[in-house]
Amino acid sequence: MLETVAQAVINGLLIGGIYALVSIGVTLIFGVVKIVNFAQGEFVMIGMYLSFYLATQFGIDPIVSLVVTMPVLFVVGVLVQHFLIRRVLGPNDMPQIFLTFALSLLLLNLALMLFSANYRTVHTSYSDEAFHLGGLYIPVAKLIAFVVAMILSGALWVFLHTTDLGKAMRAASQNRDVATLMGINPNRVFCVALGIALALAGAAGSLLMPFYSAYPFVGQVFVLMAFVAVVLGTLGNVIGALIASLMMGIAESLGIQYVGADSGLIVVFGMLLLTLAFKPNGLGGGRVR
């Protein structure tokens, strides 16, 4: 009994790490640029396909391919901000929503055209291995993904709190106008924010590849969880999104164990509903960190 619960918590925590990488990207973009990026899941998908082709064409391990997917998606993020999002930033929210939504649809259908609807997997030596501790098991691929996700999140936190550029990003997220008055170049800050967010999505893609299949719709699976995590953890709050993602992973896993395998998400959405009712600003308490 206790073993089953412990295993459920471990499973939830591990997948929560992946949710965190996606949701931190969404919340960072929202916090700094003040737009909702509906296409975040599609960038995870692009990261997965990049890793897949690097693995099958050049024999590069998906985890190692992080060093390629992250910089590539960082550049993509900068370009998206500079050439697309910059043009729609203004008092009206509608064009921004339509822009990222259209981007999502475009990337999805482009992927269908280029890669077809087939599922693609990479089989690594550790894909099916697990550490066994007593009656518990920890899959190696997911453990690696979780550890790397936590390291990246930690690195982002350090970046936001210790570097000038990081501080500028936090300043821009707290009050864009004052930040501009203080001599911060908003477009530069926004470009970096988009770059980091997409690099995290790319990292999520690479980390997923050893144990999950790549297919054009794969981003949709993760982006839904990411949006819930972002709201739960207070919009724009990086640490909040991280904690909320881990909580959701555990809630989903326990829900599957004790409510039903088709209703694991009920627990997650129940959590969201209660949070919205009693703490409308999210578990972060409304403070943007």
Binding site: T4, N11, N118, D128, F217, G264
Partner: protein, 418 residues
């Protein structure tokens, strides 16, 4: 008032025509004479061989969308089958008429299936249709075909296809028979099978798993876990954790490809010693092995067709492999047999008229040749359009290939215990 105005407009046009009449007259002349020559040329065709008009066969398959993998393979098999019939001389009673395949993409979508079936039937003079792989799509196409009075032959397994439809023919095993075969196979693995049934919460998952649940007591199989899950999950671990806690020694998974891949991998990671039966559909296609690799070895499933069944099936398999690089999988292989059943019916009907083709199909009775390429080797349709000899075949992944292992009389390889 309108009447007054119309002539004036027309006369205006006539006036324009008069002005332009000179430069156009030569062109008009050429057009007219050309048309006459062309008409003569076309008229000459029926004189030489009116019966050689090709016979149109509609093929409805999802070649885009979530089911595209299987749909594309089906189209390749359908083309192969038509080539085989045509190379053997076409339909002799129709003067050697060739079969002409008209493929339509139903995009893995029920709404599109309805409009595409309609469009295919109204836009072409069809003698028959085959399709659509997924039962949910075939159910809709069969309704449209019924109304249009065009026979539809399908490998889809839903038992619902045999209810109140007189234009639908199902030459292969039904879903209820699949369930029975799966339960019997569980007894091959151990004397006292304790089965965990996990299924995706869709029409396909629920109907198949309910069939298993209903027939389990009759087959003496105990079901210790019966659990729906939401299709397209991110992580199979919680579900497998639950299977482990149930103490089952056999696992039936009613899933599409991606979920099944995760389930099989997770079972390995957990180190759970359990016999997995992956059913049919996404489990019995080459892509499953490509994605899962060695982990697939020893896994069992059920199919309505397998490429090692008989000599004819093996012959077709070799040809298909030459064209596509993969072995001929269940649905596509059955489709080749279906095309030959249609050819047999057309031969006897001696007419491309769909109503007459339906008549001929209903009296089909074959036990040799490519048309009889079905488990048991015999095809004869009952009044409900069901092959009275239809039986499923139990298969197992062995060395990257699917081997027939159940029942004993169909077995082409011994079962390996994993």
């Amino acid at each position: 008032m309108k009447k007054d105005r119309q002539p004036s407009v027309l006369s205006g046009e006539n006036a324009a025509a008069k002005i332009l009449s000179k430069p156009q007259s030569r062109r008009k002349f050429l057009l007219k004479t050309g048309g006459a020559v062309a008409a003569g040329a076309f008229g000459a065709v029926p004189l030489r061989g009116w019966a050689a008009d090709p016979v149109n066969i509609g093929a409805l398959y999802p070649t885009t969308g979530s089911m595209a993998q299987i749909g594309v393979g089906c189209v390749a098999a359908a083309k192969l089958a038509v080539d085989m019939v045509n190379e053997a001389g076409g339909i002799k009673s129709l003067g050697g008429a060739k079969l002409n395949l008209i493929v339509s993409d139903v995009q893995s979508d029920t709404t599109v299936t309805r409009t595409e079936t309609d469009r295919l039937i109204t836009g072409n003079k069809l003698s028959a249709i085959h399709g659509c792989f997924a039962s949910a799509l075939t159910l809709i196409a069969s309704q449209v075909a019924e109304r249009a009075k065009v026979p539809l032959i399908t490998g889809s397994s839903s038992d619902q296809l045999n209810k109140n439809l007189s234009y639908t023919f199902t030459p292969f095993a039904r879903a209820s028979q699949f369930a029975q075969a799966q339960l019997q196979m569980a007894k091959l693995v151990g004397d006292k099978p304790k089965v965990a049934v996990i299924f995706e919460n869709t029409a396909f998952g629920t109907s198949t798993s309910n069939g298993l649940k209903e027939q389990a007591p009759g087959e003496g199989v105990e079901i210790v876990m019966f659990e729906p899950y939401s299709a397209g999950f991110t992580d199979a671990s919680p579900l497998i954790n639950k299977v482990k806690a149930s103490g089952a020694n056999a696992l039936f998974s009613v899933s599409y490809l991606n979920d099944l891949i995760l389930i099989v991998r997770t079972v390995k990671q957990v180190g759970l010693d359990i016999a997995i039966n992956g059913g049919s559909g996404g489990f019995v296609i080459p892509d499953f092995y490509k994605n899962v690799g060695k982990l697939a070895e020893g896994l069992q499933g059920v199919a309505h067709w397998n490429h090692d069944m008989d000599d004819n099936a093996q012959k077709v398999n070799v040809e298909y492999k030459k064209r596509t690089g993969d072995f001929l999988f269940e649905y596509a292989g059955g489709l080749v047999a279906q095309t030959f059943m249609l050819a047999d019916a057309l031969e006897r009907a001696a007419s491309p008229d769909p109503v007459k083709v339906r008549e001929a199909l209903s009296t089909l009775d074959v036990s040799s040749g490519y048309a009889a390429m079905a488990p048991g080797g015999k095809v004869k349709f009952g009044p409900d359009g069901k092959n009275v000899y239809g039986r499923p075949i139990g298969v197992q992944w062995q060395n990257g290939d699917l081997a027939s292992i159940f029942p004993k009389e169909f077995a082409r390889a011994p079962m390996i215990k994993s």
